[in-house]
């Protein structure tokens, strides 16, 4: 018998038990849908994290106050406030492979404009900050080095501030009161949207760090320093140079460091590791349901072989080879699971869509997952169909015909 007939025979057999076929395939449908939906959620989260890491800027190094690795008397990151403006200047002037530096302070503050008020984050940064972060302005200009030197009362604001405080007209040139001190708005940042953690990244005001320290936070220490290496290859060297320089300046050793330097890649690895683990875990759980679906198919195929012993006997009597019987049952199992796989793919994509619409979860249906889920389900069909099919093919025609 050629393949076309085998296919016809298998389809006929499945059609004869349409209800059972659908129920059998249901295990695979749910398994595949679960795999696709889960992996899509995981991938969505991962790509979100990745785009956020990319949004950190290019070749960025972050220097935090406090040690993340120090044992014993542990001071949390940002806790100690050990970095100074002089540290930032030293990095900027002494290290040739660092092309830009922005000292950072930040605080929560109440801001006012047009009789409206809003509670937001105020960041004190250097003039190079947006360059380091690769964050373009939507309108206006970034404040300049001379604004920084002169402790200028200028600021740039995020989209959320625009929406909250300047609903009617362009904020450029208008006044924003930060803790009751007037700052002139010189630029508006382009919108970034929500972070993976659901934070509004556009809800901020950036002022020169000098102004922030003198006029807003009244602090003398920096929270962190953003630095930009000259090239991607130079990041590791630059990181070492910074560590060495700061150890000299702070008179610390590896054991007593009161600062932490992280490069973008390390941050990216740490951040994506979680979402990778999540994707893997979700995928694994969903994969288990695919296996359960496969066991369901094997079970039904075994029942089916027993139930259809007489049918097998008839087929053998009229000239079927054992291999043809085997192929028929194998094809039935594969058709069932592939059919289930296809419906599962649709259901999985639908579920992902629904989750991202209703729950605003980022989901990403990758073609690789869809294709491998389909191949996986077909593979499950082959594996779970093999034993029952083999059993059927080995039946003796007379015994099979006599089977009650």
């Amino acid at each position: 018998m050629h393949l076309g007939s085998t296919f016809t025979v298998s389809l006929r057999a499945l059609r004869r038990n349409a209800m059972r076929s659908v129920l059998t395939a249901l295990g695979i449908i749910i398994g595949v849908a679960a795999v696709i939906a889960m992996v899509s959620i995981g991938n969505g989260a991962k790509s979100m994290v990745e785009s956020q890491i990319a949004a950190l800027g290019e070749n960025v190094l972050l220097i935090f106050s406090g040690s993340l690795t120090q044992g014993g008397a542990r001071t949390g990151a940002f806790g100690a406030g050990t970095l100074t403006v002089e540290d930032a200047d030293a990095i900027s002037h002494q290290l040739t492979n660092i092309i830009a530096v922005s000292p950072e302070v930040r605080t929560g503050a109440q801001v006012l404009a047009n009789g409206l008020n809003w509670s937001t984050q105020v960041l004190g940064e250097g003039a190079d900050y947006l360059g380091i972060r690769q964050w373009p302005l939507a309108e206006g200009n970034m404040f300049t080095d001379s604004d920084v030197r002169s402790v200028g009362k200028v600021c740039i604001i995020g989209q959320t501030i625009v929406n909250q405080l300047y609903p009617d007209s362009s904020p450029i040139g208008q006044t924003l009161r930060i803790r009751n001190q007037p700052f002139k708005v010189v630029g508006v940042l382009s919108a970034k949207g929500l972070s993976v953690q659901g934070q509004d990244q556009d809800d901020l005001v950036i002022v020169p760090y000098t102004s922030a320290m003198k006029r807003v936070t009244k602090q003398t220490m920096l929270r962190s320093i953003n630095a930009q290496a000259a090239s991607a290859d130079g990041i590791a060297t630059a990181q070492n140079d910074i560590v060495e320089l700061l150890r000299q300046r702070h008179r610390t050793t590896e054991q007593t460091d009161d600062f932490t330097v992280r490069n973008q890649e390390e941050i990216a690895i740490a951040a994506t590791a979680t979402s990778k683990t999540m994707t893997l875990l979700l995928g694994a759980i969903a994969g288990v349901s695919l296996i359960v679906g496969g066991i369901g198919i094997m079970n039904i195929m075994l029942v089916s072989v027993t139930e259809r012993t007489r049918e097998i006997g008839i087929r053998l009597a009229v000239g079927a080879h054992g291999s043809e019987i085997q192929l028929q049952f194998l094809t039935e199992a594969v058709v069932l699971s592939a059919f289930g796989g296809m419906l599962g793919i649709l259901l999985g994509i639908g579920t992902s869509e629904l989750l991202s619409r209703v729950n605003h979860w980022p989901t990403l249906v990758s073609p690789v997952v869809v294709v491998s889920a389909f191949l996986g389900s077909a593979g499950v069909g082959v594996i779970s169909g093999f034993y029952p099919a083999r059993k059927a093919s080995l039946l003796d025609p007379i015994d099979a015909l006599r089977y009650e």
Partner: protein, 253 residues
């Protein structure tokens, strides 16, 4: 006339653990093209065992079997299957149709396992033709559950015919049918035999055996008599007689 089937000293012993059952004990037999033979005998006399051997469903323990000149004993499982497909047609007591499968698809079944490729259209034409031969052209789309016993057996006969077999083998084909339906089925066999098909059937009903040309009687695995039927019955005449009798019964009511 050429011999279609030649059995030489066939033995079949079932070896089921402790007991050995010697079901067939030395049967020699020649069937010529156009033969129409009934095998008769008491239950357990070895009729079915002999039929299974003739049908290449089972191998004899001893002896030689030539089907259409080919020695069957040397063939493997698949070669036997091909032989069954091309040269033999089977009709069973219990009909053995695939349930929830139309009459037409049931008849197509042996063609699906044919070694040469046939188009779907060709399959259907041949199956329809065979259904027409057994008088069921209008029931092609019916499921077995929608057909009477006699009709189901005729579908089974159509299935047995579809690959133009040399020999049609039927083990108690009328065993599950009432007497009138049985005669109808015998009528189909007689018609096919007239067209040249060799038929071997098992029956334990004497009057059914009289529709055949030759009666073979078995006892304890041996052939005890092999006679040509002298006063042969013809289905057409018998059916007419039955109809007349029915009509008469109604008249006298």
């Amino acid at each position: 006339m050429p011999a279609v089937v030649q059995l030489e000293d066939i033995h079949k012993t079932y070896d089921s653990g402790e007991v050995q059952v010697h079901a067939v004990r030395g049967v020699s037999l020649t069937l010529n093209s156009g033969d129409f033979m009934a095998i008769m005998g008491a239950s357990g006399s070895g009729k079915s065992t002999l039929m299974n051997t003739l049908g290449c469903l089972d191998r004899p323990t001893r002896g030689r079997y030539l089907l259409d000149g080919v020695d069957v004993s040397g063939l493997d499982r698949n070669e036997l299957a091909d032989l069954r497909n091309e040269k033999l047609g089977f009709v069973f007591q219990g009909f053995n149709l695939l349930s929830r499968t139309t009459a037409l698809e049931n008849v197509e079944l042996p063609m699906l396992y044919g070694r040469q490729r046939a188009s779907g259209r060709d399959l259907q034409t041949r199956a329809e033709h065979c259904l027409q031969i057994v008088g069921l052209a209008d029931r092609a789309d019916h499921f077995p559950s929608q057909l009477s016993g006699g009709q189901q057996q005729r579908v089974a006969i159509a299935r047995a015919l579809v690959n133009n077999p040399q020999v049609l083998l039927a083990d108690e084909p009328t065993g599950n049918l009432d007497s009138k339906t049985a005669v109808e089925v015998m009528g189909v066999f007689q018609k096919l035999n007239d067209q040249g098909i060799t038929i071997v059937m098992v029956t334990h009903e004497l009057d059914i055996a009289r529709f055949c040309k030759r009666n073979l009687i078995m006892r304890d695995g041996r052939v005890v008599s092999d006679i040509t039927v002298a006063d042969r019955l013809f289905a057409d005449a018998e059916l007419q007689r039955l109809r007349d009798a029915e009509a008469a019964a109604k008249l006298t009511d």
